[in-house]
């Protein structure tokens, strides 16, 4: 699943459901009674896995699964296609994370039960994008009519690419891409924005553009994406959001981050009411609950 596979109307329905879940959790607490979610995580991911598990438990369902390939039959050489055929007999829905790109798609094509892509290598992480969109819609009240700054690793960060693609379908959004020269967005993103006539600019200084932003999406420079340790060390602390920079921003600007953060957001920003990244985690649970209910056709 790619968030762009949903129309904006379908996304609206999903987000409306998530908002209702947030407002009336008791109404949904037994919706998945008797249903099982299989979390098939071929690589470790504490937050995403726990978010899915928490979502299913909040719905009254139960959870089975594994949290790394070593404790699954993949270590014996079993293919994803075979694993999912077996999981289909044990569970009603599956969330899969795999280091190989396209693995959840292969699983979905062989499966009798819905398969949610919980991240496949550097390719896609659709439920993170749904989380980002729901957070923006809930806290800003709209998906459109704002200026969003995307800051940090814009070259390798798949969450940034997915978010730009998803937001590009809404009206009146200006993108400000803030990154060092080495970590600028790939050409295809720039081409897509130009083709669609969407306003964007690329800058290096975060301070210079802070007053313009309605949203700031910070990202981590990921060590695992670099071949050269020296480059990583040089770029990892290129941007650090602190109180001084926050003082330049609008009073209602929001700071988002897909987490985990390392140094790019100073802990002193956590208490600022504009810091929305921990609320974002909570919205991740709501949107995954909405997705599970929708895919199991329980709404």
């Amino acid at each position: 699943m790619n968030p762009l596979d949903f129309t904006t109307e379908e996304l609206d329905r999903l987000f409306d459901l998530a908002v209702d879940i947030e407002a009336n959790p008791a109404k949904y607490s037994k919706k998945c009674e008797g249903k099982k979610l299989a979390t098939c995580f071929y690589e470790p991911s504490t937050r995403t896995r726990l978010s899915f598990e928490s979502a299913m438990l909040n719905l009254g369902g139960s959870v089975i699964g594994f949290s790394d390939a070593g404790s699954s039959s993949a270590s014996k050489g079993e293919s994803v296609s075979d694993t999912i055929r077996i999981i289909s007999c044990y569970a009603d829905i599956c969330a899969m994370r795999h280091p190989k790109e396209g693995a959840p798609m292969v699983a979905a094509s062989r499966s009798k039960i819905p398969v949610i892509n919980a991240g496949d290598g550097g390719h896609q992480h659709p439920t993170q994008t749904l989380t980002d969109l729901l957070t923006i819609r809930s806290l800003k009240g709209r998906l459109g009519g704002f200026t969003i700054g995307l800051c940090g690793d814009l070259k390798f960060g798949r969450t940034v690419h997915s978010l730009i693609n998803a937001l590009s379908r809404y009206d009146d959004i200006t993108f400000i891409m803030i990154s060092p020269e080495e970590l600028k967005v790939p050409d295809y993103i720039r081409d897509m924005l130009t083709e669609k006539g969407i306003a964007f600019k690329e800058v290096i200084s975060l301070e210079d553009v802070m007053p313009e932003l309605d949203l700031l999406y910070m990202t981590r420079v990921q060590r695992e994406r670099f071949f050269n340790e020296e480059d990583y060390i040089r770029l990892k602390d290129f941007y650090i959001l602190n109180k001084q920079k926050m003082a330049l921003a609008k009073d209602d600007m929001l700071v988002l981050h897909p987490l985990p953060r390392v140094n790019e957001i100073s802990v002193e920003v956590d208490d600022d009411p504009r810091a929305a990244y921990f609320k974002q985690v909570q919205y991740g649970v709501y949107v995954r609950m909405a997705l599970i209910l929708t895919l199991l056709e329980l709404v």
Binding site: S79, H98, K100, E101, G102, A103, M105, V106, H123
Partner: protein, 142 residues
């Protein structure tokens, strides 16, 4: 000048860029074919200077010609029946290609699961093919 006789039924592929006919021979699976195939390389051409030309004697429904457009969209495909050309096919890039090229992305699921078909879809805006699983663009040259 070399003369190759007429075919009764099959295809005459004309205006193949010089040197590409053997690639077509392999990609159409003609090496596993039991019928008569004539390949003329480096023939004189008013349009191209030099060209390759192929005559394939076969049932006109037996070949999947999708790969031809990927090799070169300007190839002329003449369909022959009862010794006459009954149709000139226009080549367009197919929306999907199966097992014509292989995904070279080491992070793609096809790199570890050998039994998966290698499927590429057409990115129409850029006229390039991307792997259905990982979206990586095809780098294979024909």
């Amino acid at each position: 000048m070399l003369n190759v006789g007429q075919i009764e039924q099959g295809y005459v592929l004309d205006h193949i860029p010089a040197g590409k006919s053997m690639s077509i021979y392999h990609h159409l699976g003609l090496d596993k074919f039991d019928s008569c195939v004539a390949i003329i390389k480096n023939a004189r051409s008013g349009k191209l200077g030099k060209k390759d030309l192929m005559k394939i004697e076969c049932d006109i429904n037996s070949l999947n010609l999708d790969v031809l457009a990927v090799i070169c969209q300007t190839i002329t495909v003449n369909v022959v029946k009862d010794g006459e050309i009954i149709e000139k096919k226009l080549l367009t890039l197919p929306k999907e290609l199966k097992n014509i090229m292989k995904c070279k992305n080491p992070r793609c699921i096809t790199s570890i699961e050998q039994e998966l078909p290698h499927i590429f879809y057409l990115d129409e805006k850029k006229e390039i093919y991307r792997c259905k699983y990982c979206d990586e663009k095809n780098h294979e040259k024909f």
